[in-house]
């Protein structure tokens, strides 16, 4: 789908938290996962900036591991603060999507 970028902006961080939350992983794999989900416009750079911010805000545990080719990779896993943030994301998401559904269906 085209032109999702603007709408996706606020929720992409939550998506990344969710992916990291299910297993320890690295930037390229996260990007691939999102691309496969249908968010084809998401590039690695976007995910990189989100990972930098998650690290800066102390939501992830970072481990450097050597890769088969090229430089070492940074792997990311959620810590307690990250899990809290993820739970908060889903709470907000459910609130938002239920209200918007209501609006669409003409309810209150």
């Amino acid at each position: 789908m085209d032109d999702l970028t603007e709408m996706l902006k606020g929720t992409l961080e939550g998506c990344v938290l969710q992916i990291i939350g299910s297993e320890e992983t690295y930037g390229y794999a996260i990007t691939r996962r999102l691309n496969e989900l249908g968010f084809t416009d998401v590039v690695e750079g976007t995910i990189y900036t989100i990972l930098v911010r998650l690290e800066r805000n102390g939501l992830v545990q970072v481990t450097k591991r050597p890769s088969e080719r090229g430089p070492a990779r940074k792997f990311f896993a959620l810590n307690d603060a990250g899990r809290k943030e993820l739970a908060a994301f889903w709470t907000k998401w459910e609130y938002l999507s239920s209200r918007i559904d209501n609006l669409k269906e003409g309810g209150q």
């Binding site: 930037g27 390229y28 590039v43 690695e44 750079g45 976007t46 990189y48 900036t49 989100i50 930098v52 911010r53 800066r56 805000n57 080719r69 090229g70 430089p71 990779r73 940074k74």
Partner: protein
């Protein structure tokens, strides 16, 4: 800042510049423009160097994967740079806080 810090800083900076120069031309161009932009915008964690060396780490991975730089970070390089420092305080924030008389850690 002691002499030692300055010397250490210079050594680290030279090593950093050497890494930049080892990148393919398209990556070098984009890196230099981003650096210039970030220096002007002035996020306060810029001097510790992690933000910049992190970009090089990320770029080196992109090179190893055989990608072009815009393929890696998208066409809107400025958006990439902005996202990197989205929730960082800038020099301007510090300045504004101090002239508005808000408490500042440096004075504690």
């Amino acid at each position: 800042m002691g002499i030692q810090d300055i010397i250490e800083g210079k050594k680290q900076w030279r090593a950093h510049v050497a890494r930049v120069k080892a990148l393919p031309p398209d990556y070098q161009i984009v890196y230099k423009e981003i650096q210039k932009y970030l220096f002007k915008v002035g996020p306060i964690d810029l001097p510790d160097g992690n933000l910049l060396s992190g970009i090089i780490d990320f770029f080196e991975e992109g090179v190893a994967a055989g990608k072009g730089v815009l393929e890696l970070i998208g066409n809107d390089v400025a958006a990439f740079a902005d996202d990197l420092v989205k929730d960082s305080r800038t020099n301007a924030d510090i300045y504004q806080e101090s002239i508005s008389g808000k408490p500042n850690t440096a004075e504690k």
